[in-house]
C-alpha cells in the first residue's frame, strides 16, 4: 500500500490525500445538510426579533429530536438596506439563541434564515424552517428561488403568505397544508402536536384547526 503501516484511521498527509481523491464533497462526507431561506419582513420590531428567535429554537429542537443531538448551527440575520441589523445564532439548545447587533423598528427589513446541521433530511429541514416561520406569526415574504416543488400545482400557502414552489429535482411528495394530506415527517409531527393541543393553543392553532 503506502509503504507504511497506517490503517484506515490514519490521518497523515498521504492517507488524507488518498481520501481526498474520492468524489464526495466535504459536506457529503460529514453527512451534513444546509438550507437557507431569504426574504423580507414587514413591520420589524423587537417582538419580531423574539419571534424569529423562537423560530430558530423550534428548528433546533426538531433537529435535536430527529438526529439524536443538535450538532451544527442555525442562524438568522435581519438587516436594513445598508446591511445594518441583527444576527441570531443558535448552536446549543441549552445556551439558547445569541443576539448580536441592533436594528431600530422599521417598516421593512430583509432577512436570512439558514441551518447547517447533521443527520437530518434537507427537505424535511426546509419544511420545518418554513413551518417555524409560519408559526412565529411574523409578517414575512420569501424570495421566490427558495421555494420547492409540491404536487398541488407548484403553490402552497403558509399562514396567508403565498409561496410558489419550484425545486427542480425529482423528489416528489404530497404536500398541501390546507387539506392536511402531506405526510412528510415535519407535517406529521405538526399534526400530532395539533391533535395533542386540540381544544387549546394559540390563535394560529385555532385558525389551523378551522382550516382543517
Amino acid at each position: 500500500m503506502k509503504g507504511h503501516n497506517h490503517d484506515g484511521n490514519c490521518h497523515c498527509k498521504e492517507c488524507e490525500g488518498e481520501r481526498d481523491s474520492g468524489e464526495k464533497t466535504s459536506i457529503e462526507e460529514a453527512g451534513g445538510v444546509a438550507v437557507g431561506l431569504t426574504g423580507h419582513i414587514h413591520g420589524y420590531n423587537a417582538d419580531v426579533a423574539a419571534r424569529l428567535s423562537n423560530a430558530l429554537l423550534a428548528t433546533g429542537k426538531w433537529v435535536g429530536d430527529e438526529s439524536g443531538s443538535f450538532l451544527g448551527h442555525i442562524k438568522a440575520a435581519v438587516f436594513d438596506s445598508d446591511g445594518k441589523g441583527i444576527t441570531l445564532n443558535l448552536t446549543d439548545m441549552d445556551n439558547g439563541v445569541e443576539h448580536h447587533g441592533t436594528l431600530s423598528p422599521c417598516e421593512r427589513a430583509d432577512f436570512t434564515f439558514m441551518s447547517a446541521v447533521l443527520d437530518v433530511d434537507s427537505h424535511k429541514l426546509e419544511h420545518v424552517m418554513l413551518d417555524a416561520l409560519e408559526d412565529s406569526g411574523i409578517d414575512y415574504h420569501l424570495e421566490e428561488h427558495h421555494h420547492h416543488n409540491h404536487d398541488n400545482g407548484g403553490h402552497h400557502e403558509h399562514g396567508g403568505h403565498h409561496h410558489s414552489h419550484d425545486h427542480g429535482h425529482e423528489h416528489h411528495h404530497e404536500h398541501d397544508h390546507k387539506d392536511n394530506v402531506c405526510h412528510c415527517k415535519a407535517c406529521e409531527d405538526r399534526k400530532d402536536k395539533d391533535t395533542e393541543g386540540a381544544g387549546k393553543g394559540s390563535l394560529l392553532d385555532r385558525i389551523r384547526r378551522r382550516k382543517k
Binding site: H11, S26, I27, E29, G36, G72, D119
Partner: protein, 195 residues
Amino acid sequence: MYVYILGGFLGSGKTTLLMKLASMYSKRGVKVAILVNESGEIGVDGATLKQEGYDAIELPDGCICCSLSGTLQSALKNIKRDIDPDVIIIEPTGLALPHKVRELVHYSMIDPDEMYIIGIADIQRFDDLIKKREEFFKRQMFAADFILINKSDLATPEKMDAAINWLKAEYPDKPMIPVSTKTGENLDRIYEMMK
C-alpha cells in the same frame, strides 16, 4: 502577505474568532481581507461581519474546499489584485476540510509569505462530536498548525483536561490553547502568536 485559515466544525466559534482577529489587526493598522464561506444558499456570516463594520467577501452555497474550489481561487486572485492586503483570513464552512483549502490557496498562485491553519474545537460539544463524527473531526484538525479549544468559559476544568488529553494523544506535536472568544480568555496569547 499572511494567510490564516480557520478550521473547525459548525458552531465552534470561527466567525467570532474571525471578528476578534480582524479587530486586532485593524487596531494595529494592518490591512486585512476577509473571505467567508457558507454551505447554505444564503450566507449569514457576511451580514454578521458587515454589522460589525467589516467588509467581507462572501462565498455562499457550497464549500470552498470542494464544490467552490474554483471560486475560491478566483476570489483570492481578485483580493490580491484589488486589495493587496497584509493578511487574508479565510473562514471555510464548518463542514470543510481546511487542508484542502490550504492546497487551493497554494495553487491559486497568490504566493503568501506564510500560511497557517488555526484549528478550533468546541469544548462544549466536544464529546458529542467525537461520538458522532470522530473521523471527520480528525480530518478537520490534522492539518492545523495549532488548536484552540474554544468556549472554555462553558467547560469544567475536568472536561477541559479530558479534551486536551484526547487531543494530545491524537496530535502530540500541536500546541493547544483553551480560549474563550466570548470572554477573551487567552486571546492575548493568540494575538501574540499572530504578530
